[in-house]
């Protein structure tokens, strides 16, 4: 599988802190469950270096999913600061967070989350649609991305006509469509057999080699070894960090 990452011109101004794409400063996320407060994140401070590959691990309820949601601007921290490209995004409006998701992130999910009534091409083009790309340009982009993730000739298929591994490739192509700074993956191999899972991890590793920062939630140690750093969470706090920092 050969892939070429073509540099697309970035619209983002170059940030002062170029080393770290994301910085968490004492980030807390508290949920109220009935009369009880649940601290999903109990004060996490951590910088994420540009181009790094992290595995977020921990038992269920450790806060790893919450962390991914906050990282992906799907959720706001209750307190603390979250710097994305040196901008504090911890208290932005819903619209502004949508804009950040649209321009900076690509999401990969355990259950692929493709829209069933759209074709492969249309699924890949979805972020471009919201970015306001014209039809011809986004069609070309979808073609190029499909090729990059190893899917060709399937562009007019529906997701349910594809295997799980192929569906995840479509999801990755879609996540790459907006040329994001950070790829967020939530158990990307959870619904795949181990052979297919390993292929997907190879693809992610290649993307990381080409410069994408990848933050991945997983509970499988076999999958976590693909990452350069492994962050273990427990009760909403950093338990330990493994790997080159």
């Amino acid at each position: 599988m050969t892939m070429t990452l073509q540099a697309t011109p970035s619209l983002r101004p170059s940030p002062p802190d170029n080393d770290h794409v994301i910085r968490f400063v004492n980030v807390r996320k508290t949920y109220i469950m009935g009369s009880e407060e649940v601290h999903a994140l109990a004060g996490v401070t951590l910088p994420f270096r540009r181009g790094s590959f992290w595995a977020l691990m921990g038992p269920s309820g450790s806060g790893k999913s919450t962390m991914l949601n906050v990282l992906g601007c799907l959720d706001r921290p209750t307190s603390g600061q979250y710097f994305l490209e040196s901008r504090d995004v911890s208290s932005l409006s819903d619209d502004a967070l949508s804009e950040f998701r649209l321009r900076h992130f690509g999401f990969i999910f355990q259950s692929f989350n493709l829209i069933p009534q759209l074709t492969v091409r249309e699924n890949i083009e979805l972020p471009l649609y919201y970015l306001g790309w014209e039809a011809a340009a986004s069609a070309a982009r979808a073609e190029e991305l499909a090729q990059r993730v190893g899917l060709t000739g399937r562009l007019n298929h529906r997701p349910n006509q594809l295997s799980g591994g192929q569906q995840q490739r479509v999801a990755i192509a879609r996540a790459l469509a907006n040329d994001p700074v950070v790829l967020l993956a939530d158990e990307p191999t959870g619904n795949l057999d181990s052979a297919t899972g390993n292929q997907i991890m190879h693809l992610l590793t290649e993307l990381n080699d080409q410069g994408k920062t990848i933050l991945m939630v997983t509970h499988e140690p076999d999958i976590a070894v693909y990452a350069h750093q492994r962050l273990h969470l427990r009760d909403g706090l950093i338990d330990r960090i493994e790997g080159a920092h």
Partner: protein, 423 residues
């Protein structure tokens, strides 16, 4: 760019609707029948009222029509007498007074109604005749079929001429070749000088002055020859009436004066008539009344229309709410990718508007066909107005927006994290 996006949004909406063809069609039906019935009902109402308005307009909106009327008490006490004479109605003097008193009056046309036995060749029958003046032809304008109408000279010379109406001509079996022939009326002989069209049949409760009239003769002559007493024989008794004028059409110079002058005439007539033996009808007032009735009618129809469209709208809302629930996951995906709330609102809103607009357009088709069928099979006049089509399509689009808004807002308000987890 914006138009291009809107076009893409609409294309996307249509695509989504096509995924559930049966459901979309069923959802649309409410609007289809709502719009269809609105247009059909309005067209029937419009057809009926237009016919009435047309008849009233024919009476002339700057005219006042005064008709002699037998007073009620006169009719009551007839009690077994063999011969009686009732005297009532408008007087020749009334006409003169009205003409001379009100400067706003342009002219007056007096009318005397006579019933005489008429004979043309072998046809003998009782004819209803209007004795009038030459101005009649100006006030009650009808196309001439043959010959001419009464002219000033006929009146002045008290000429023995008669103008048949189309209705009378048919009864007498007179044709164009009857012009110049002699019609015997009572003891006298008249020359047929023309045949004119006339209006027959009622017109929304308003009588046209030439309704069921057979012939016209000069008033001056009729007065001289036949006098003012009309005899009528009914089973065993003979009844006589003395009526100078049966009707008077007062034409004013301008429509603006109608109400003021009508009040003046009424006051004047009251002074000279002890009994109420006349009736005034003002086409302008009738016209206004008919228009008000039409407005009320339209409001009632509009309300029915509103209810049916409301039901259609609720149907749409119901389906869209189901659709939002069904597509929660999709909404979550779109939001995660970066769609803003208003973009989700737009997506769903466009679907409902597309649905209701297509429904509205189909409804217009049905709404045009139904009146046509009504006219064809039930022989009722119908008029489909452009405004009712535009209005219905506009309203159905509005229904789409109003009833689509809530499901769309519900969709956009979903928390993307929760939506993504939705099974």
């Amino acid at each position: 760019m914006r138009q291009f996006r809107l076009a893409r949004n609409i294309a996307l909406g249509i695509k989504n609707l096509l995924l559930h063809k049966l459901r979309s069609v069923l959802t649309m039906l409410g609007v289809v029948f709502g719009v269809g019935s609105v247009i059909a009902m309005l067209s029937v109402g419009e057809g009926a009222s237009q016919e009435a308005l047309e008849r009233i307009r024919m009476l002339g909106s700057n005219n006042i029509i005064i008709t002699s009327m037998k007073p009620v008490e006169e009719e009551a006490g007839s009690g077994g007498r063999m011969l009686r004479l009732s005297v009532y109605g408008l007087l020749y003097d009334d006409e003169q007074r009205i003409r001379e008193t009100f400067p706003a009056v342009d002219r007056t046309v007096p009318v005397k109604i006579l019933r005489k036995e008429g004979r043309l060749h072998d046809q003998t029958l009782e004819l209803r005749m209007v004795a009038t003046v030459a101005d009649w032809a100006d006030l009650v304008q009808r196309p001439i079929i043959a010959g001419r109408t009464l002219i000033e000279r006929d009146i002045k010379d008290r000429a023995n001429v008669v103008v048949l109406t189309e209705y009378g001509a048919r009864r007498l079996l007179a044709t164009q070749s009857s012009i110049g022939q002699t019609l015997k009326l009572g003891p006298d002989y008249f020359e047929v000088v023309g045949i004119v069209k006339n209006e027959t049949g009622p017109a929304g409760g308003v009588q046209t002055p030439d309704q069921e009239v057979d012939a016209y003769v000069p008033l001056s002559l009729a007065r001289e020859r036949f006098g003012d007493i009309n005899r009528r024989r009914t089973a065993g008794s003979e009844e006589s009436e003395r009526v100078e004028l049966h009707q008077m059409i007062v034409q004013l110079k301008s429509t603006d004066d109608v109400e003021r002058v009508a009040a003046g005439i009424e006051a004047m007539l009251k002074r000279f008539h002890k009994k109420l033996d006349y009736k005034m009808s003002i086409p302008l007032a009738l016209l206004r009344e008919a228009e008000a009735t039409k407005r009320r009618f339209n409001i009632v129809l509009g309300s029915i229309a509103g209810i049916s469209l409301l039901v259609g709208g609720i149907g749409i809302m119901n389906i869209m709410l189901a659709s939002v629930t069904e597509r929660t996951r999709e909404i979550g995906i779109r939001r995660a990718i970066g769609a803003k709330r208003k973009q989700i609102v737009m997506q769903f809103l466009i679907e409902t508007v597309v649905l209701s607009t297509i429904g509205g357009l189909i409804g217009v088709g049905i709404g045009v066909i139904i009146p046509w069928l009504i006219t064809y099979f039930a022989n009722m006049p119908t008029v489909v107005r452009l405004y009712s089509l535009v209005l219905s399509v506009g309203i159905s689009m509005g229904v789409g927006i109003v009833f689509g808004l809530y499901p769309a807002i519900r969709a956009a308000a979903l928390d993307p994290i929760v939506a993504l987890r939705h099974e």
